[in-house]
């Protein structure tokens, strides 16, 4: 199984020259198993996917963790949606009085977008995520609600013996420096438990976080503590704050790594990178 990172940025896309190291596109990854591919989140990173080369099949699956703009903005310009021969399955969280389709339609309709969902040419199948593990091809997917404002899930994606956990927006504990000591009280613990790769929110430094408690994001420190607690094997720090230049982000990471003492690899996510799981 491979993971390709198409967008690693949080909040909003940036084309600044200061943000080219880690990339300017917002959240989107592809999980790849041979010819099978699923797309997770539809930030502006989705626009970098080569649909012509890699998506011969009629069906395309896009999983959404939540509907904040940095996770759906690319959907509006996603090529397969405008191909009448494609069947696009969009999976996202329920948990709201309004259906997923109605919530997506708020964005994909005038005045924010020229056409409405019902006029999109592809065959759109919009499905609220079930409360149980479901399969797409050989991928077994579990979605669970995690700590972030509004209905938000994390995904655990298993293929064969390998597992990837994706939590781009997650505040595992609110306003505390450390996780609760008991595993069962840690948001998202089950999703991440013993994953081969954990892709996790790390938007802030420890100091910044204390001024942004409850905003739904975490620090590098808490992401690493979460990974360690969940016994995940590899941590990819995700959802970079576009308010930081990449040089600042690198320094923040290096400072953290000088103090950190973990026995698993920790890296900053880089747009365009592929990770073999």
């Amino acid at each position: 199984m491979k993971v390709k990172l198409h967008g690693t940025r949080g909040a909003y896309p940036t084309s600044s020259a200061n943000n080219q190291t880690y990339g300017g596109n917002t959240s989107c990854i592809e999980v790849i198993n041979g010819e099978e591919r699923i797309i997770v989140d539809a930030g502006t990173g989705i626009l970098g996917i080569d649909f012509d080369t890699f998506y011969d099949a009629d069906r395309i699956d896009i999983l959404l963790t939540h509907l904040h703009m940095d996770h759906i903005q690319g959907l509006a310009f996603c090529k397969p949606l405008f191909n009448a021969n494609k069947e696009v399955h969009i999976w996202g969280p329920g948990g709201s009085p309004e259906s997923l389709q109605a919530r997506l339609n708020r964005f994909l309709s005038p005045p924010l977008f020229p056409i409405s969902l019902r006029d999109i040419p592809s065959k759109l199948i919009i499905q609220e995520l079930p409360n149980t593990t479901f399969t797409i091809g050989n991928f077994a997917i579990t979605a669970e609600y995690i700590s972030h404002p509004g209905p938000t899930v994390g995904f655990r994606i298993q293929c064969g013996s390998k597992t990837v956990t994706y939590m781009p927006d997650h505040e595992p504990v609110i306003g505390k420096a450390h996780l609760f000591p008991e595993d069962e009280w840690v948001s998202g613990f089950k999703l991440a438990h013993r994953s081969d790769l954990l892709i996790h929110d790390s938007q802030y430094s420890k100091e910044e976080y204390m001024n942004k408690v409850g905003w739904g994001h975490g620090s590098l420190e808490i992401a690493a503590e979460f990974c360690s607690r969940a016994e995940a094997k590899h941590l990819l720090l995700f959802h970079h704050d576009p308010a930081h230049s990449d040089d600042e982000r690198t320094r923040m990471f290096e400072d953290f790594m000088k103090r950190a003492n973990y026995n698993f690899p920790i890296e900053l996510a880089v747009q365009g990178h592929e990770i073999e799981v």
Partner: protein, 132 residues
């Protein structure tokens, strides 16, 4: 490996920030968390007791009515919320380990998250001597 639903985890975080006693129970009625102010009511620390079955916590603070008659666990608001999945409220007396009776009001609410599953209940205790 088991883990609580996010709405239960966030309820604990809320309870952790409050100065009023809060109990959290799972759908079976097991007391899965109580905050520091509730430790004063129970006379025990959560880190010492861990989760407690309803039969234990329901009697450990000696709930009784104005005439000193014991209130059985099934009449406590939190137990009623667990049984009926609706909010409940009751004013009654509890006795501390030192034998002092205190008049309290308890409001309990069911916790039903986005998955629409009944995950447990939360009870908030009001000390009527302080607020009255």
């Amino acid at each position: 490996m088991s883990a609580y639903e996010i709405e239960i985890i966030l309820s604990r975080q809320l309870a952790d920030c409050l100065t009023v006693p809060v109990f959290l129970v799972d759908p079976e009625g097991t007391l899965i968390f109580y905050n520091e102010p509730a430790e004063v009511v129970l006379g025990q620390k959560f880190q010492d007791t861990g989760p407690m079955p309803v039969g234990d916590w329901g009697t450990s603070f000696f709930p009784h009515d104005g005439e000193g008659k014991d209130i059985p666990p099934e009449e406590l608001p939190l137990v009623q919320t667990i049984q009926n999945k609706v909010p409940a409220h009751k004013t009654f007396w509890i006795k501390s380990l030192k034998g002092k009776s205190t008049k309290i009001s308890v409001t309990s609410i069911p916790i039903i998250g986005r998955s629409k599953n009944f995950s447990g209940a939360m009870a908030i205790f009001w000390d009527n001597e302080i607020i009255g």
